[in-house]
């Protein structure tokens, strides 16, 4: 056994010297087929410090026009199925005048040019397109202007007489053309224009159109490569076994000699909170590491984030429910106390939603290679390369510039690939590679992934509404009890609520004169993370389901009450009407469907990530379980880039939202999550997928997000419909754990 010592600065272990068979495409030099002969513009100084760069302005950081006039584009944002690479090609291509189909898009390396999110870089929050839309258009337009200028010189024609058509500059008067690839070199030497004119929206060819996604054929033929598929020369494979309870350390290995003698085993290692085997194939490494009989210590008293031995999700839920207090206000309007005092009737309910894993289908992996020049190279799934780079540098004891990060295509996103301590394999890969003096590829088995994923927090909310004599809500108070992931990872001031704990109860649009939304913080012992739509993933369920309770208490139809309370919000009212019309007109049920089943519908609204969403679900009860037949979604992201991608993302969001409503729950017992694979943690199956009907509304409001907004409306719409059939309110998810009785069939 090699006892691991922390990695310090100094000479790295000898790396394997061979070339990568991971292709170093384009700007890294290497694989011949994609090497650029021309970079646009090469004249710009590269050796600038971070402070001197305005992100999103240096054209050569993003764009390379190749001799065949195709474009290599480096995206600041990671592709994980949300279609952002295609969106970038559409936006830049529109202004540059290159068909998006002629783009090759890849993840940009770490660097100051890509810090497009307020000086930082992060793929998430459904922010990618809306945050960079203007900047990327300008980038494309600037490059086009430089190509025109270069053409003007080569053709000896005034720039004013020149125009572009996709991929080339045209001089109509003389009938001459120059392909972009012929102009790139000359254009490269020109200054980047100070001002550019952007195309007017009514001339868009690609923005706003259902442009085919760039990666679909590769993903349909197995050619797309994810981190888990990569290989570097001379690498060894590693597998780990973690302490079942977070914070425990390996104390003794009972059968080390036996495991060392297993086929293909190179070495056995102890790591912080884990043991590892390095072998000549992953299967051998895995089999060996799982054969190791490990005694784990109890966490030392000062171990940060150690999981208590008596922790369970059940006690966590009860603790939150019984925690008293009004919490820290996040949103306040009117005089809530007075409104409740004067209310004709008060409705109260407590809701909860469970811990969830991300369940992205690609298990986490990391390849680490120490190079002879002292650099450390990492191939890792991630949604924030600069943050991973800084963390890896700290772990390795080297300067961040010496850490080279490659960010492959992600086999599922959902918020899994953030810098969660203890939830990423790269620190282990760095240590193992250092120890064995060779590149190491570490894969976490699904079982290890479910053990160490950063979970969506368990949440509880206390809701209270005051109704007037007519049954209309005049006061609403919502207190989210627990901890949010933003506070966990970015900090929360002691006297401030964490927006990620309240979003989805805060920010609602109904005209209820007196409102208070607060967080009652109670630290979560689990490692919590961002899960697609974050706080909205549960808070819109709490709020919108409670809304139906309020409607019922006041003897109002839930659709009509929403409609009424949106009288002053034309954008939202129109969206609600749109989803009703899309579903063939609002009807709550119960009613008998064409196939003889008894069905009901539920409605919900949500305002997540700058977009507005209205959702209707139609359900029936089959053998005590909820079957969802149809989901109608009207989504208003303000303006759009690709309607086909939006429709796909809404389908995906419906599936995930429904999966969480029906099935998903991480159960902790004795500090350990019980389910270690999909058999114990079922996710939505094909036969559970409803038909999904999408209507996109472009209201012209500022552009909102797309990746997450479809999720939050689904659980409340489904539960509201189910409650019509059961006659009981359902205040806890998932539905699978509840025995539902009611109008069957």
């Amino acid at each position: 056994m090699n006892d691991m010592t922390p990695i310090r600065s100094g000479r790295p272990a000898q790396g394997e010297d061979g070339p990568l068979n991971v292709s170093r495409r384009g700007f890294l030099g290497g694989a011949a087929a994609l090497v650029l002969s021309v970079t646009l513009p090469v004249g710009r100084a590269r050796a600038q410090t971070a402070g001197a760069v305005t992100p999103g302005t240096r054209i050569d950081a993003f764009l390379e026009i190749r001799p065949d006039s195709t474009v290599l584009f480096r995206s600041a944002f990671m592709e994980g199925g949300q279609g952002v690479f295609t969106a970038m090609a559409q936006i830049v291509g529109e202004e540059l005048d290159v068909d998006p189909a002629n783009f090759v898009v890849e993840s940009a390396p770490p660097g100051p040019d890509y810090l497009l999110l307020g000086g930082g870089r992060f793929t998430g929050g459904s922010m990618s397109v809306r945050s960079s839309y203007e900047t990327m258009r300008r980038l494309g337009a600037s490059a086009r202007q430089m190509l025109l200028q270069a053409a003007s010189e080569q053709l000896s024609a005034p720039a004013a007489e020149l125009s572009t058509e996709p991929g080339r500059v045209t001089h109509a008067a003389s009938g001459r053309h120059l392909a972009y690839g012929e102009l790139a070199q000359a254009a490269a030497g020109l200054p980047v224009p100070e001002n550019v004119t952007l195309r007017s929206n009514d001339t868009f060819r690609w923005i706003g159109k259902p442009v085919p996604r760039l990666d679909v054929r590769d993903k349909s033929t197995g050619r797309a490569q994810y981190a888990i598929d990569l290989r570097v020369d001379g690498m060894l494979h590693a597998a780990v076994q973690h302490s079942p309870r977070l914070g425990g350390e390996p104390e003794a290995l009972a059968n080390e000699a036996e495991v060392q003698a297993m086929p293909g085993v190179h070495s056995i290692h102890t790591l912080p909170g884990a043991v590892a085997v390095v072998a000549d194939s992953w299967w051998r490494a895995r089999r060996a590491v799982e054969t190791l009989q490990v005694t784990w210590t109890d966490p030392a008293p000062d171990t940060p984030r150690a999981m208590p031995a008596d922790f369970s999700s059940e006690t966590r839920r009860e603790t939150l429910k019984s925690t008293e207090g009004d919490g820290i206000a996040f949103e306040q309007e009117g005089d809530v106390a007075e409104a409740f005092a004067g209310a004709a009737r008060v409705v109260e309910a407590t809701y909860d939603a469970p811990y969830l894993v991300h369940g992205q289908l690609e298990p986490p992996s990391a390849i680490a290679r120490w190079n002879d020049d002292g650099t450390l190279e990492l191939w890792i799934p991630n949604q924030a390369p600069e943050m991973f780079q800084a963390d890896a540098a700290k772990l390795a004891g080297i300067e961040p510039e010496k850490v080279i990060i490659h960010s492959p295509m992600l086999g599922g996103f959902f918020g899994r690939h953030f810098l969660y301590q203890t939830a990423n394999p790269y620190p282990q890969a760095i240590q193992l590679s250092r120890a064995v003096g060779r590149p190491v590829k570490l894969i976490w088995s699904r079982e290890e992934e479910f053990l160490r994923d950063a979970v969506r927090p368990l949440g509880v909310a206390r809701l209270r509404a005051g109704l007037d004599a007519e049954g209309l809500p005049v006061a609403l108070e919502a207190v989210a009890i627990g901890e949010g992931p933003s506070g966990r990872w970015f900090g929360r001031a002691a006297d401030q609520a964490d927006s990620s704990a309240v979003e989805g109860m805060a920010g609602k649009v109904y005209a209820i004169a007196n409102r208070r939304v607060a967080q009652l913080p109670v630290d979560d012992p689990a490692i919590i993370g961002f899960w697609r739509s974050v706080g909205h993933s549960m808070n819109d369920f709490f709020y919108e389901t409670f809304f139906d309770e309020v409607a019922d208490a006041g003897q109002q139809d839930p659709y009509e009450l929403r409609h009424r309370l949106l009288a002053e919000s034309p954008r939202h009212r129109a969206l609600l009407e749109t989803v009703a019309e899309l579903s063939g007109g609002w009807k709550r049920g119960p009613f008998t469907a064409g196939d003889g089943t008894t069905r009901a519908r539920g409605v919900a609204m949500a305002s997540p990530f700058g977009s507005e969403v209205a959702t209707i679900a139609e359900v029936s009860l089959q053998d005590g379980e909820v079957a969802v037949h149809d989901v109608w979604v009207a989504i208003d992201p303000g303006s759009i880039v690709n309607p086909a991608v939006i429709e796909a993302q809404v389908n995906s969001a419906v599936a995930l939202g429904l999966s969480s409503a029906l099935l998903e729950e991480v159960v902790y017992v004795d500090g350990i999550p019980q389910a270690r694979n999909f058999d114990g943690y079922p996710i939505l199956r094909p036969d559970q997928m409803p038909r999904v009907h999408v209507r996109i509304v472009e209201s012209g409001a500022p552009m909102g997000g797309i990746g997450e907004p479809g999720v939050p409306g689904v659980p409340p719409a489904v539960v509201n419909a189910a409650s019509v059939l059961t006659g009981q309110r359902i205040r806890s998810l998932p539905l699978a754990k509840i025995e539902l009785k009611g109008a069957e069939g």
């Binding site: 598929d229 389908n651 995906s652």
Partner: protein
């Protein structure tokens, strides 16, 4: 051990109970077949063995000696496979794409056995998980491939 994969014969030197999935991925470098769960739950590892859709993560290599294995790498050499791929592209099925090798293999096996599948046939055959929820697009693509 000798395995026939995509029409070629490979000499494999591994423990006989090694899952086919890891022979494909680590020994032969054929990484189009994916690892998702390792316990026959997700279907990301689906390959064809003698034409049958099979989960390679729980198929030991010693159990398939003498049989023919087809993986996603050879999908376009197969006439049904070709139709399936074209339908996948036309319907823009993949999102993250990670499950899609397995989905395409499952669809190909279905069409080989049942060229004109009913919706029930499709539901019975297309049982692989997709965390991105591409299920509706998958069914549409299978129907289109059957018509092609």
């Amino acid at each position: 051990m000798e395995l026939t994969i995509n029409g070629s014969t490979h000499q494999i030197d591994v423990e006989p109970d090694t899952p086919l999935l890891w022979v494909l991925r680590d020994e032969l470098g054929m990484t189009g077949t994916k690892y998702g769960c390792g316990v026959a739950q997700c279907g990301a590892c689906t390959v064809l063995i003698d034409g049958q859709a099979t989960r390679s993560c729980v198929t030991t290599v010693d159990s398939i000696v003498g049989m023919t294995v087809t993986t996603i790498e050879a999908i376009e050499q197969d006439s049904e496979g070709q139709k399936v791929v074209e339908a996948w592209v036309a319907n823009q099925v993949p999102q993250c794409g990670y499950c899609q090798s397995g989905q395409v293999m499952a669809a190909t096996a279905l069409l080989k056995q049942t060229p004109q599948p009913t919706d029930e046939d499709i539901a019975a055959a297309m049982v692989n998980l997709c965390r991105c929820g591409t299920y509706n697009a998958i069914s549409a693509a299978v129907r289109q491939a059957a018509r092609a």
